[in-house]
């Protein structure tokens, strides 16, 4: 019950040096992270203008996690996450226009305006949501893996959840069955250090979350989630582990969210200095940009061009999200049973 912020104060960092593997892919990964960043900034602005309602959980700061994971996957692998899901959808290739129009609750949204920020899905892209109940996506993602094992299709399910969610009982029920039945599932814990206003140290008896599978014999690894190549490398290993029939694996991504938990979070539980320090020293996009320039993979003009493209995509999405009409009133009664 006592704050133990002294237990571990290095925020977002992890032990390993940044990865070098796959560096030739870095320009594309940079672009995807930038798209998420600009998209989320625009979503935040549109919330401020009253165009988006309810909860809106931004992914700003965590972009490297989903982009690095996606870069390692193969056709057929599935993803499922919680409500902080815009980045996952963009990384999975869902149409930014459809995502933004869902945020504004319009007919052109991916759930036709009925799901909102927290609830979008794409069968085509193997994205299974978009879930509002903390922890619920973990057994669901394990169930996707169950189906993969049942069909023997070689696909792997990736279930993302937060540091806060890692205290829900159903996570451990899932761990047990996943290992018992050797299910091909990667549990990606996005450790951004806070669950709303509660730091990991204040909620977790054992805050090394990648070790949470030990009593089920599930291996775990701590990854620098602010370095997209490190994420990608860890993801490749984990996917190989699952595909070779060794069962589940846990990746703890050390990351950070810059914004409030949702739009109405006064964020008094951490200092501005803490946030600014992570931004200044570890920002995944700044780090990728610096790498790109240092390794001569791109020049300033090339970066400007990516920036321009990304801004155009986001502007188009925002425009679409405001001009798409509200859903027809008859939609109220559709999609309840089929």
């Amino acid at each position: 019950m006592v704050a133990a912020s002294n237990k571990k104060s290095a925020r977002a960092a992890s032990d390993k040096a940044p990865s070098n593997s796959g560096i030739q892919d870095l320009p594309g990964l940079y672009r995807e992270m930038l798209l998420i960043r600009r998209f989320e900034e625009r979503a935040g602005q549109m919330y401020g203008m009253g165009l988006i309602g309810g909860f809106c959980h931004l992914y700003i700061g965590q972009e490297a996690v989903v982009v690095g994971m996606k870069a390692a996957t193969q056709e057929g692998d599935q993803m499922i996450t919680a409500y902080r899901d815009h980045g996952h959808m963009l990384a999975m290739g869902l149409d930014p226009k459809g995502v933004m129009a869902e945020l504004t609750g319009r007919e052109g949204g991916l759930s036709r305006g009925k799901g909102g920020s927290m609830h979008m899905f794409s069968v085509e892209k193997n994205f299974f949501g978009g879930h509002g109940i903390v922890g619920a996506q973990v057994p669901l993602g394990t169930g996707l893996a169950f189906a993969n094992a049942y069909r023997g299709n070689g696909a792997v399910s990736i279930a993302y959840f937060g540091d806060g969610a890692s205290n829900q009982g159903q996570v451990y029920e899932s761990f047990n069955m996943a290992e018992l039945w050797r299910l091909p599932v990667i549990y990606v814990i996005e450790n951004n250090h806070y669950a709303m206003g509660t730091s990991v140290e204040r909620s977790s008896a054992m805050p090394d979350l990648h070790r949470r599978g030990e009593s089920f014999a599930i291996p775990g690894r701590k990854v620098d989630g602010m370095d997209v190549l490190s994420v990608r490398e860890a993801a490749l290993d984990a996917l190989e582990h699952c595909r070779s029939g060794k069962g589940p694996i846990i990746l703890e991504m050390m990351t950070y969210r810059y914004r409030g938990h949702s739009m109405s979070d006064p964020a008094k539980y951490r200092t501005q200095e803490e946030v600014q320090k992570v931004r200044a020293e570890q920002d995944p996009i700044d780090r990728a940009r610096a790498r790109l320039l240092a390794e001569n993979l791109i020049d300033e003009a090339g970066l400007k061009e990516i920036d321009r493209e990304v801004r155009a995509i986001v502007a188009e999405a925002a425009e679409f999200a405001q001009t798409s009409p509200e859903p027809d009133a008859a939609e109220l009664y559709t999609d309840i049973l089929r």
Binding site: G44, G54, G105, G113, K114, H119, G132, I133, M196, Y269
Partner: protein
Amino acid sequence: MPIQLLMPALSPTMEEGKLVKWLVGEGAKIKAGDIIAEIETDKAVMEYESVDDGVMGRLLFPDGAEGIKINTPIALILQEGETAAAMDGLASAAATPAPAPAKPPAMSKPAAAMPAASKPAASMSKAAGPEVPAGTKFVSMTVREALRDAMAEEMRRDGNVFLMGEEVGQYEGAYKVSQGLLAEFGPKRVVDTPITEHGFAGIGVGAALAGLRPIVEFMTFNFAMQAIDHIINSAAKTLYMSGGQLGAPIVFRGPNGAAARVAAQHSQCYAAWYAHIPGLIVVAPYDAASAKGLLKAAIRNPNPVVFLENEKLYGRSFDVPALDDFVLPLGKAHIARPGRDATIVSFSIGVGKSLEAAEALAAEGIDAEVIDLRTLRPLDMETVLASVRRTNRCVSVEEGWPQSGIGAEIAAGIMEQAFDDLDAPVIRVCGKDVPMPYAANLERLALPQVEDIIAAVKSVCYR
């Protein structure tokens, strides 16, 4: 063109805000991500972060300016290469809100629009009754403050009472209901939990079986579904199963029902679910006075009590009797507005809508009585039946779904016990029989509105 910074909406229910203070001055360089101002919303003081790079050109409101509507320009930021001259003509825009950037449908916020409209009706429900001696003074307070005061008073009175839940301590409640409690009672009695509802609800019940008096806060009742096994199987049934030896004196409380634009998994009324269960007491107050008086009663009660609050009501102010120990009886309905022509039965936020409907109906010559059930189990059918025997007509109002709902129970009870007094079939005004949609227009359609109540009352009056 300089960038106009607009007053942002920083919470789902915010309509206007106060500019507490600027953290940058005119002429200061700004980077995206810099905190430039503190803004007070209906819930809390928030930091306002710039998403643009540039130079602060002009501050259009001074520190402390209040009541600034969302989307009003509050400052101008100069972009690369711009000089102060670029702002000519723009600064005067400060007085008028910028036109809404999109066409109005997206702005149709049903929840946000309600508080003002229900002002006159609110005072109708002043908790006068046998519990309030003549000459008692009233003070205005929000439902949020009333709930906090109820907990604080009971915690001072009984050292066995403690509060437990997610973000109840340091954060002072996700909806700021437990403000000040950690400071007064310390972390032993105001316990922050991890996100593990099934676990801490069970721990609460265990502590209650051992004689403590837990108040378990669910961040919202949507998340109590994780814990419903302990509420029903462990809390509600133990007294019976033990042949009366031991029971669980515990309060499960938190916001229930629809919130604004949070979609299907976060917007649902559980009143009927819990009202179904023998061994539970279920309370759903409307105004601040009943919130306070009933929560104090719930904490003192030796049984498990499910206490259903409402997020949209937290910020509304009502008159509360200024008494040292204001406790209301559980299981007793309250006539919030007397009337002769028809009875409207509701609870929680539905009472406010019903009172509004009654006002509108009065203008058309229909004098509707509004009953605030306050407690849903045990249900005070006596008060309902007595009213229906006078008015001969009844409409029930709830946000929950129609099938097996509170309205269904009321209608069945009236049919069984006052059939011959009815001049028209009872009409249920309910939430639509669908999961809650996100889109603003669909959400409005999904929830019972004042005009639905008016139409139903007219219908039972054959008007």
